[in-house]
Symmetry: C2
Subunit: 141 residues, 2 copies
């Protein structure tokens, strides 16, 4: 991008986020993280993020976008969601919550976990530890 290396407030935060996660804050990771975390929570595909980066004149390759998304996910900055086998989404909301999935548009919407009550889970065989519980409500729209 042209000049002003950093946006005023969010810049620092994002940078720290990367550092704290143990990720080297490179130009590209920083730019992508800004796009991802600038505003509220979002659900993005690699392709989408790649396009947004291009529109913002951030020069990154698609491979780098994938690397960044996976690095971020590995460090707990993102959460990966596979709804439809054709592509995955990365969710900036890593807290406990669920999703509406609009089948027609492929759009995702968060459902706060308080709105979903799950009870009487059977014991996972061998006392296996539960990694997480995903609830996906598919709607026709």
């Amino acid at each position: 991008m042209r000049n002003k290396k950093t946006s005023p407030l969010s810049g620092v935060t994002v940078l720290e986020r990367l550092r704290d996660a143990g990720l080297r804050p490179t130009r590209q990771r920083l730019a992508l993280a800004k796009i991802l975390f600038a505003r509220g929570h979002r659900h993005v595909s690699a392709e989408q993020l790649f396009n947004e980066a291009k529109s913002s004149r951030v020069d990154v390759s698609l491979a780098t976008v994938y690397n960044a998304l996976h690095d971020f996910t590995g460090k707990g900055l993102l959460r990966e969601i596979s709804i439809d086998s054709s592509s995955s989404y990365f969710d900036t909301n890593t807290g406990n919550h669920h999703h509406f999935y609009f089948e027609r548009s492929g759009h995702l919407e968060d459902i706060p976990s308080e709105h979903v009550n799950i009870s009487a889970l059977p014991e996972a065989p061998g006392g296996a530890e539960i990694t997480r519980v995903d609830v996906i409500i598919r709607v026709k729209a």
Copy 2:
């Protein structure tokens, strides 16, 4: 199983299942349906089914396996599940139920729907109709 074109009882049933669904019971579809529905409920990937068919000396192409799986799914004989974006599973249990997903092995196990209680769902925007609710409990094993 050894050879013999058909297993005794399930053979007829499978044939009728296809007929009732409005699917022409071709050699391949019949053979695949038998593998799928012979015993209790199962979760298979296209590749798996393809291999099982080969082991049973059923001569089908992978494309036909995909066609059959999708045809069966379209007619409600199977249900498709996408857990992991790398490949989909087809579940012979089309009733209302949920899943344990063993991350290490990629194995799926049913959870009867009575064991999971979901409450207080937010209204889907625009009164959109709910197609289905998937609950996936990921466990580390």
